[in-house]
């Protein structure tokens, strides 16, 4: 069997690895979304200690590099707890923390962008705290949050590339490995970049469209 790496073989190998980039992105976005929603609820809570805790969380994960969060999850957690995490589990933990902090911040911004009168009016209607959120605040905030949330999904997909550093084989790691064998760096990384672009660009466009539509409605 010939191990010659032709253009076609390189491309197919990259595509196989792309599956894991997509899977990891979805995992990060789903878990990050759930955790981010809880953190956002804490951030807008009327109780001060809860707000403070969530502020610390967001400040830490927004203010430190994703790469370091991956190292902490992969090397740090396994040393402290004496367990060996697989690269996939470590990447899931780190990307969930990273994604949830940014989504919590984006969504909090959307909630706080609503006029105070919305809260006051729903109070006047006799709604309790959670009823206010459920029926008045969140439905309106969701509309504002769609564009930046989709935009952030692009950051998540790009962020999964760093999971390659702790040994998770997705698109970037596959590209590095193929480059090590073939030494065709320009070709391999251009192809990998093109695949990332095809994943991310439609989302970027969608995010821009939604934002434009929202701006037009506002005028």
């Amino acid at each position: 069997m010939s191990d010659e790496f032709t253009l076609g073989r390189i491309f197919i190998n990259l595509l196989i690895a792309t599956k894991w980039t997509i899977i990891l992105s979805i995992i990060a976005f789903v878990f990050g979304g759930i955790a981010g929603f809880l953190i956002m609820m804490m951030r807008i809570s009327p109780i001060k200690p809860i707000r403070f805790l969530s502020w610390v969380y967001v400040e830490f994960f927004e203010g430190t590099p994703l790469l370091l969060q991956l190292f902490l999850a992969f090397f740090g957690v396994s040393v402290v707890f004496g367990i060996n995490l697989s690269p996939l589990v470590a990447a899931t933990i780190a990307l969930t923390a990273f994604t949830s902090a940014f989504l919590a911040d984006i969504w909090r911004g959307a909630v706080e962008a609503l006029p105070k009168g919305q809260w006051e009016a729903s109070s006047a209607l006799g709604f309790g705290y959670f009823k206010k959120l459920r029926y008045i605040i969140l439905p309106q905030a969701v509309k504002l949050a769609i564009a930046p949330t989709v935009g952030f999904l692009v950051q998540v997909i790009k962020g999964t590339s760093l999971a390659s550093v702790i040994g998770f084989t997705e698109l970037s790691r596959a590209a590095s490995q193929i480059n090590n064998v073939t030494l065709k760096a320009l070709l391999v990384f251009a192809l990998a970049g093109a695949i990332y672009f095809l994943l991310c660009y439609p989302l970027s466009l969608w995010s821009q469209r939604v934002e434009q539509r929202l701006n037009q409605q506002a005028h």
Binding site: P65, V80, L186
Partner: protein
């Protein structure tokens, strides 16, 4: 949990962290300065009205913004030597960071330029402002004040991104952590400390940005909404 935390490894090697932090700081500063120049040129091209310049710049912006920095870094570090361009790790790191920051700042600066209504300049002319004063007070200051928050946020993201350059053996803060980890295996203590260093850098930038905003843009705030 039977793990005993031992931060003495940090104390004993503090010089390594500081040296790494200084390199992170230097690489960030140079890359952001060059990136900002790229961004201003990019914004000029995007608003020039010249279709080709606009299309080329837009392609640059979208390609960079929709691909991971790691791939850009590897493309430059491993790819450019194939074209006969030899770069050491630090040069490759600065080049790719500047190109990356340039794309993001192009769009931010463009938004600033476009945020100044023509009527505002015409009104200043009608009031008899001299051209230099118009540029300084009517265009530059409000435009900067409009994009200031976005630009600061992007600077912070860029500094955090510099951690990735450790992967091509640039001896930055993250690399210092990796180096120490491979010798002592005090992974948690080391990486947590490195995180705190980055957090401190981010807070210093935030504080500095806040001071500049107070000092220079306070009076221009009316134009923000």
């Amino acid at each position: 949990m039977g793990y005993a935390f031992d931060f003495s490894v940090i104390r004993d090697n503090i010089g390594l962290f500081v040296a790494g932090a200084l390199l992170t700081f230097r690489v960030s500063l140079i890359a952001i300065a060059f990136g900002l120049i790229l961004g201003i040129i990019g914004a000029l091209f995007r608003t020039s009205g010249n279709r080709i310049l606009n299309a080329v710049t837009l392609a640059y912006v979208e390609v960079i913004r929709n691909t991971p920095f790691l791939i850009q870094l590897f493309f430059i570090f491993f790819g450019l030597p194939k074209l006969g361009i030899r770069l050491n790790a630090e040069q490759a790191a600065i080049l790719s960071l500047a190109i990356n920051f340039g794309a993001y700042s192009t769009e931010i600066v463009r938004a600033g330029v476009e945020s100044i209504p023509k009527g505002q300049i015409e009104a200043a002319m009608a009031l008899g402002f001299k051209p230099l004063k118009i540029f300084r007070y009517i265009i530059l200051t409000p435009a900067l004040s409009n994009i200031y928050t976005a630009l600061t946020g992007q600077v912070i993201l860029a500094v955090l991104f510099t951690s990735v350059v450790s992967q091509i053996a640039t001896e930055d803060l993250t690399f210092a952590g990796d180096f120490l980890n491979s010798r002592t295996f005090r992974s948690f203590e080391i990486y947590f400390t490195v995180c705190l260093f980055y957090l401190a850098i981010v807070w210093i930038i935030k504080g500095f940005a806040y001071w500049i905003e107070r000092r220079f843009f306070e009076f221009a705030k009316y134009s923000r909404r």
